[in-house]
Amino acid sequence: MGNIKIGLEVHSQLTNLNSKLFCSCPTDYRGKEANSYICTVCMGIPGTLPVLNKKAVEDAILIALSLNSKISDKMYFFRKNYFYPDMPKNFQISQYDKAGGITLATGGYVSIPNKKVRIRRIQIEEDPARITYEGTIYKSKSSLVDYNRAGIALLEIVTEPDMESPKEARIFLQKLSSILEHLDVCHSYLEGSMRCDANISMEGGKRVEIKNISSFKEVERALNFEMTRQRNLLIKGISTKMETRHWDEIRRVTISLRIKEEEEEYRYFPEPDLVPTIITKEWVETIKDKMPELPDAHKERLIKKYELSPQNADVLVNYKLLGDFFEKCAEIYYKPGAISNWLVGDLLGYLHEKGIQLQEMKISPVHITKMLKMVDNGIISGKIAKTVLEEMIISGKMPEIIVKEKGLIRIHSDELIEQLTNKVFEENKEAVNDALEDEKAMHYLIGQVMKLTKGRADPELTNKVVRDKLIEHKKLLEKKN
């Protein structure tokens, strides 16, 4: 099958700003009442004018630097003219690299395993409003507009079509989002803070654009769908046409938008209400000085300093919050390897399973380190620890409290375990016979003892007791024979 070329247009909100791009409205609009985070400027009320947020430019420069891009020494804002009900002014203040326009930055790359995905350009623009529907988009008689999001600073990062599979696109996006997280400028876990348009073309077909992809997971899905669709067409000898398609998240298909020749006529021209921004070398230098550790360096340091496996280090870097959490744990307790295994394995797994965001979990590093100490001191078993961990994540209670409340302390009593073992042997005579021949059956018996204690029996002790009992049983049998 022919080569696939995928390019992405990532729209990332600068979520760490206090105010919108061109007005002083606050940015923490998520979860707020509709149309409560707006003013006359972001609503496009006649007579109002935009004034550029300095920090937005600085955050954008920081990002461009981290992506190895060339910062323009002067940039302009252009108006992108098109009508849509989510547009407060029916034009978007954006940037443009043609018609005399200069965007914030050009060039650059993001390294992913085995390749560099090249960046074409980076530009600053304003986010439109959000449209909701009564029911679905198709059935709704009218649409409802919430302008809270309108005017939020947005960075558009356009790549070259350097990715060769949907998976690679996902890996790129993960890396990019990790970089932005490290820079502390965009928190992609905030709903809708990172959106994406993708273009995909296969050898023998034309370029197809997919719009309206709301998250990274969806990007891979949309691209996979589109790849299969195009492949099927090509097999039938039909070549794909150049078009824009819409990703329908619910039905998980791409839908062709009406093809309009007019579609791309945005009538860009320089925004007369804003003046050029000159970006001096000195300014860039002061921003560069604030450059924090980036994912590659972060990973290397984790491996060197804590002797982590590259796999664990990768995950901790991709989930920057978890990485920070890890380091705090590692400061408290001396076993970074074990900590990283717990975090990357059980903790992250449980969060994914339950759909809980990292920042929503209720535990502190102390929770984890205390739990680990209890395991190491033999107070609870590893298996119990897993239960404790899950409980901690949900309730935020300290491990010793959970253990106490639920009576999870390990059973060290020979007597009790012997009693239970006797009981198991009574009830599983066949298994006992099998166990004389077969190691597996012995583990079954141990498991039954553990089960009776709800996992609290000391495994080593239980092991010993069961073994001893088996030997005894064997001797008894031999005697009989």
């Binding site: 002083s24 707006i38 003013c39 007019e262 003046v275």
Partner: protein, 97 residues
């Protein structure tokens, strides 16, 4: 003066679609004539020799007008004062598809 490119009614239709202004048949006819007159006058600037000149997008030479990233309380009452149709707190808009 020679008219290099005249605006056809088709083009006027297209422009009115782009500008989201429905024109009546009569307006299309009228505009087609008037706009062609005006455009042929505009073509005067073709003669101007400006090859090496930069465009004057901003007539006064200022740059870097920036504000510090301080948020102020929003003012939804001011912003929503003239909204013709609200549904709850949402601005009501026509159907999308």
């Amino acid at each position: 003066m020679k008219i290099e490119k005249s605006l056809s009614k088709m083009e006027i239709k297209h422009l009115s679609w782009l500008a989201k202004i429905e024109l009546t048949k009569k307006e299309e006819d009228l505009f087609s004539n008037q706009l062609n007159d005006i455009l042929s006058y505009f073509q005067k600037i073709d003669e101007a020799n400006v090859e090496d000149l930069p465009p004057t997008y901003h007539v006064i030479d200022i740059s870097n007008v920036l504000r510090s990233d301080k948020s102020r309380p929003p003012n939804p009452e001011q912003a929503l004062k003239n909204v013709p149709k609200l549904k709850g707190r949402y601005v009501k808009a026509p159907r999308i598809v």
